[in-house]
Symmetry: C2
Subunit: 142 residues, 2 copies
Amino acid sequence: MIDQSVGDVMTQSVQTITPEVTAREVATLFARHNIGSVVVVEPETNEPLGIVTESDVLREVAAGADVESRQAASFLTSPLVTIPTDADIHAAADRMKEHSIRRLPVIEDGTLLGILTTTDLTHYLPRLRNTILRDRSQLAGH
Amino acid sequence: MIDQSVGDVMTQSVQTITPEVTAREVATLFARHNIGSVVVVEPETNEPLGIVTESDVLREVAAGADVESRQAASFLTSPLVTIPTDADIHAAADRMKEHSIRRLPVIEDGTLLGILTTTDLTHYLPRLRNTILRDRSQLAGH
C-alpha cells in the first residue's frame, strides 16, 4: 500500500491530438472533457511527440496569437517527461517537483497507457493517511 | 506531522485581480508568474469575490470570446470554495475531490492568506511517505 504504483493511481483514459489541431480546438477539448492536457501523437504511428497543457494554450493567448489558426505543433511541450506504470507514486511526485510540471504521461515501449496528474495524487492522499493511522494504532497496540 | 495543516503547505503569495481585468490580461499574469489561478477581489474593500482559473479562461477561448475585451467579472467562478489555515491537508484533499477543483483559497475573517493547490499537496507527498517508513521501522523494532 505505501509504495502504490503509478499504474494504480493514474488516469487511464488520455485524450490525444495530432500536431495540426488548433489552440481553439484544444481549448474546446479541455472544456468538453474537463481535462487540463492532451498528448500530441504522430498521425501515422501514434507515437507520442509531446504534450499540450492549459498553460501552453494560455501562453499563446497571452502572446496575442490567433487561436483559430495557431497549431499545436508550434506550442507543444517536448520532449515528454514520462513515468513507467510500475514506478512508485512518491518517485512520480518527486519527478513532477523536479521538472515543475503537474502531469506525467505514462508510456511504456512507446505506447501511451495513461497520465498521472497532481489531481490523481491529491485524491490518493486521504488513503495514504489511513495507512499511517492504521500503522500508528498497531504501534500503540504493542 | 501526519495532520499537517493547510497553513504549513499552502502557497502564501496569491495574485489578485479586480473584476474588470480581461481574459488576455489574466493569461499574461498566469504566464508571467507561472501560476494557474488568480483570486478576484472587490477593488475598494479587497474582499474576495471569486476565482479565475486556467480552465475558466480556456472556456472563453473555446467559446470564441474576444479575449481582449472579455472581463473576469463575466467568467469568474463564484462563490469560492475555501479552507481555513488550521484545517488538516487531508480534509483539504477531500474537499477538492468533492468539488472537482484543484485550488482552495485560504481565507479567514474575509482576508485572503494564501492558496492551497494540488501541486502543493503533491510536493508534500514524499514527506508523508517518510513518516510512514519511520513508523514502519519503529514497528519492526518492537
